[in-house]
């Protein structure tokens, strides 16, 4: 990571205005967004949007032709170009030809992408942004920090300062008064401008129309008062039919600002009369600039389904800490990372792609169904392929790919850590490693890994067998979780086997873009876990479960190793997470928990992979409820804890504040226990609570359930549950 980027992160996370405003907004956003969607079937709406935008992405050229024909027939002039500079030049030339001295603009990201203001100024033409936030940022000489709320990083005092300078008069930091003053100043600019420049939210091929939405009403003035109107439109805004605007207008305001509809929607089809009776000089610049290349790449085509609502920014645990400036470009956040890699070049995304913690929050809310985290992983993979992994990662993955060496080193670590470990934690490390446990204690490597402990567990014999996939954390740091899993399954009459050949699930390598390493891990694990005929492959780590169930096949597919995909699918069919299986066993009457006891209050942390990918957020809650705990939900229970595997080591300055927020939410419930299904989250949260000193126990659901097994009831071998994946699939189909 380069120093300048690290410094930009440092200054962002330490900017209290920015993180305060973004944090408050993102907390309120979830609630107001949900309210805005009341009575609307979001899945249905986004299904329609994804479908119509996908169609458009597959027919960009055809739709651009139809649009051009229809817009021209209505009297608009359409300029099509592949080149960002040519688009800017067209506008400059047009302004020069018409003797335009000043231009008013309503918000247009495409115009920012082509640096239109700079081009106009170089030609001696004044360009004024008229969206209030954009104008503030322009006067301050800054860049928008959010795609929908450009000046969210500034306080009213800072805005007053900027306005005061502009109008040469001391203005008070009074928001209504500042807005009123902006209205007056900008009104003069509207009335005097020779040209209005806008973007478009939608361009309709069938009718040659452009659709522009605003809340302030500036786009109506930009398109009404000056005699010339130029709309700069990226081809990804094209849709085939006029009826396609309906689902987009249903989702865009709700997702962007939690409004049922913005104050103004303008649908412009050909020139309308000017105020002097002449007809508007209407130009539409239809710009490709790498969009078609994206459409032709199957891994990135879906990015063109984005409707620019910025909800991916609003729900992102990282964005709300760092804001938009660290992205350094027009487009910010998760989708911005992807667009920057394409609209600029792949290398421009080298630093910013590392900001994604892969929690999947954005996938749940995206109205265009853009798989943003998967695309960011693909960027990582291509960057690693282009530039090679860092030396440090290369060394680490060299070890992970050699199971025997990897496990030998983990065992050796137990001896090495001895001077630093106490009560199962490492709280301080020598100076060169001290960053690793600055904001949370690390777990000590267990004296006896689970793979050794397992050999000593006496189990009842059974025809029904499950292979336990431990994963590195349970195997070497939290073996007690593994023991609990075996106890619970034994109680239901299932015999557990532990295939010795299992190794790291490959998630760390995959998340770092080292797909070859991940594929090596995948193959070793498939061989080990399919060697014996078992009914289930159980894991108590959601990240591992997702790797086994989904990512092995994806990794093979990305690398073109199609011959390995069927074996990955055979494994996936047997894979199930602990809580889903345990819940199924309880429901089938094969597992009984002690009843009638009222245990303490408990709060539950949703691990990203369990909730977002496996959709298994109900099973653990129902199990804990049956076990007698009183569940108290914490605020933002399904928000990432900041662990993200090696993310917390690479970006501790982001991981730490995410964790702090999580700890506050846990403590605010007053519950003495926080349960979770992921040993990674447990490592992060346990370490944070240890540093914090709060007397709250962190437990894996499996351990809490094992504690509540009804000792009276013997093993109850019952009818097999059928394919293990059924329950899991039911979750994911939900």
């Amino acid at each position: 990571m380069n120093t300048a980027f690290r410094e930009s992160i440092h200054s962002a996370v330490n900017n209290a205005n920015l993180t305060g405003a973004l944090g408050r907004f993102s907390e309120a956003y979830r609630v107001s967004r949900a309210k805005a969607y009341e009575g609307v079937d979001f899945e249905e709406v986004r299904g329609r949007i994804a479908e119509l935008k996908s169609y458009a992405a597959s027919h960009l050229n055809e739709l651009a032709e139809i649009f051009t024909r229809n817009a021209q027939a209505r009297g608009a002039k359409v300029f099509r170009t592949n080149d960002a500079n040519a688009a800017a030049q067209y506008v400059v030339d047009l302004a020069r030809k018409n003797g335009v001295k000043s231009v008013v603009k309503s918000k247009s990201m495409a115009s920012e992408e082509i640096h239109l203001n700079r081009h106009l100024e170089e030609a001696g033409i004044t360009a004024s942004e008229t969206d209030l936030g954009e104008w503030i940022v322009q006067l301050a000489g800054e860049r928008p920090s959010h795609m929908v709320m450009p000046a969210i990083h500034m306080t009213k005092e800072q805005v007053a300062e900027v306005f005061s300078k502009e109008v040469n008069e001391r203005l008070a930091a009074d928001i209504p008064a500042l807005v009123k003053r902006a209205r007056k100043e900008l009104r003069t600019k509207f009335l005097n401008a020779g040209m209005g420049v806008s973007g478009a939210n939608i361009a309709v091929a069938e009718t040659g129309s452009i659709v522009i939405i605003t809340n302030e009403g500036n786009a109506r003035l930009v398109t009404t008062l000056p005699k010339t109107h130029v709309a700069i439109v990226g081809v990804e805004k094209l849709v085939a039919h006029f009826s396609d605007v309906l689902p987009i207008l249903k989702a865009l305001p709700r997702s962007a600002t939690a409004q049922l509809l913005t104050s103004y929607v303008s649908i412009i089809t050909g020139p309308s009369p000017n105020t002097d009776g002449s007809l508007k000089d209407l130009h539409i610049v239809l710009m490709d600039s790498h969009r078609s290349e994206m459409a032709n790449d199957p891994m990135f085509k879906e990015a063109l389904q984005c409707i620019r609502c910025a909800s991916c920014l609003n729900v992102c645990p990282v964005f709300r800490l760092v804001g938009g400036h660290v992205f350094g470009k027009t487009y910010t956040g998760g989708i911005g990372t992807i667009l920057t890699a394409w609209f600029d070049e792949l290398k421009q995304s080298e630093e910013i792609q590392g900001l994604c913690i892969q929690c999947g929050n954005c996938v749940d809310v995206c109205p265009g169904k853009v798989p943003i985290p998967d695309m960011i992983l693909e960027l990582r993979r291509r960057l690693v392929k282009q530039q090679g992994p860092s030396l440090k990662e290369k060394a680490a993955f060299g070890i992970v790919n050699n199971r025997r060496l990897f496990h030998t080193m983990l065992r050796a670590a137990y001896t090495v850590q001895k001077p630093f470990a106490k009560d199962g934690f490492i709280r301080h490390l020598p100076i060169f490693l001290s960053d690793l446990c600055e904001f949370r204690s690390l777990p000590a490597v267990a004296e006896e890994p689970f793979r050794d402990k397992f050999l000593k567990i006496e189990q009842p014999r059974s025809q029904e067998k499950a292979a336990f996939y431990a994963g590195c954390l349970i195997d070497f740091a939290y073996p007690e979780t593994g023991t609990a899993v075996v106890q619970v399954l034994n109680k239901a009459g299932i015999e557990v086997i532990f295939p010795e050949g299992q190794t790291c699930c490959g998630a760390p390598a995959r998340f770092s873009g080292a797909y070859e390493v991940a594929a090596g891990n995948a193959k070793a694990n498939i061989d080990a876990l399919l060697a014996e005929d078992v009914a289930y492959v159980v894991s108590a780590c959601p990240t591992c479960t997702v790797a086994l169930k989904h990512d092995f096949a994806k990794t093979f597919a990305s690398l073109g190793l199609t011959e390995s995909v069927p074996r990955a699918a055979a494994l996936a069919a047997k894979v199930v997470d602990f809580s889903t299986l345990a819940k199924q066993l309880v429901d089938a009457g094969r597992l009984t928990l002690k009843e009638g006891d009222h245990l303490s209050r408990i709060t539950y942390h949703d691990s990203c992979h369990l909730k977002k990918t496996l959709k298994a957020d109900r099973a653990p809650r129902e199990l804990l409820g049956k076990a007698g705990y009183e569940l108290v939900e914490m605020f933002e229970c399904d928000m990432c804890c900041g662990m993200g595997g090696s993310y917390s080591l690479k970006l501790p300055e982001i991981s730490a504040p995410i964790l702090r927020r999580k700890l506050t939410n846990i403590k605010n419930t007053g519950a003495p226990i926080v349960a979770m299904d992921c040993p990674g989250c447990a490592m992060q949260i346990r370490g944070g609570l240890d540093k914090d000193g709060a007397p709250i126990e962190v437990r894996h659901t499996a351990e809490l359930i094992a504690d509540r097994l009804d000792s009276g009831a013997g093993p109850r071998p019952g009818r097999p549950l059928g394919p293990a994946s059924q329950a899991a699939r039911r979750n994911e189909d939900r």
Binding site: R24, F25, R74, D131, L132, G133, I136, M149, P150, A151, I152, M154, T155, K156, V159, I175, P176, L178, V179, K180, R183, L186, R187, F190, L191, T207, G208, S209, N215, E216, G217, N218, R220, L221, T223, T224, L225, F242, V245, L246, L249, K250, T257, Q259, L260, L261, T262, S263, Y264, V265, S266, I267, I268, T269, G270, P271, S272, P273, N274, T275
Partner: protein, 185 residues
């Protein structure tokens, strides 16, 4: 129609629009004229009234009305609109489920009176209320109309510290006058 109107009213008021309903054209006209008096309409800059003609005024002697009403003009120019406090126009239909007005804004005077003054008074026939946008955009379609303007509440921003502030570039008040008698011809 009453259910559609009730939903419209609730949704529009939720975004700070003011909603009135009258049975007859005469009552609506009386309300508007009283509103102009109440807002101190006068023939001085920033107190004038621009009215883009609509069917509410069918049969009304415009010359006489303008002469009786201080500051009122039916000749909507850019300058008249810019120096007016109140703009009045008639819209094509309303959308119940979002509290939205839909107008064929190709005639520029309809945009001027609804965009430049501080207050926009919108007249709408009650029986044009549509349940949703899909139904409204069948009535007002780009095939016939070069500039469709949908309006939902007054102009607003939250660009400074996320504080909702009404009236940035457009009107700070939107007064909607439903008239049952209109359109029942």
């Amino acid at each position: 129609m009453t259910a559609l109107f009730d939903t419209f009213k609730a949704r529009a008021e939720a975004v700070s629009a003011e909603v009135h309903r009258f049975a007859t054209k005469a009552e609506a006209l009386d309300f508007i004229l009283a509103f102009l008096r109440q807002e101190n309409a006068a023939d001085i800059p920033q107190s004038r009234v621009v009215w883009a003609n609509g069917s509410l005024l069918d049969g009304v002697d415009l010359g006489q009305l303008a002469a009786q009403t201080p500051g009122l003009t039916f000749n909507v120019t850019r300058d008249a609109a810019e120096t007016s406090k109140i703009g009045i126009s008639q819209v094509e239909c309303a959308i119940s489920d979002t509290g939205t007005l839909v107008t064929d804004a190709a005639p520029v005077e309809r945009r001027l009176v609804s965009a430049l003054p501080l207050i926009h008074v919108a007249v709408v026939a009650t029986d044009t209320i549509q349940p949703d946008m899909a139904a409204a955009l069948v009535r007002v379609h780009p095939g016939q109309c070069g500039y469709i303007s949908m309006i939902t509440g007054p102009s607003r921003t939250a660009d400074i510290e996320r504080v909702l502030t009404i009236g940035v570039h457009g009107p700070s008040r939107l007064v909607i006058v439903f008239v049952d008698e209109l359109g029942r011809s």
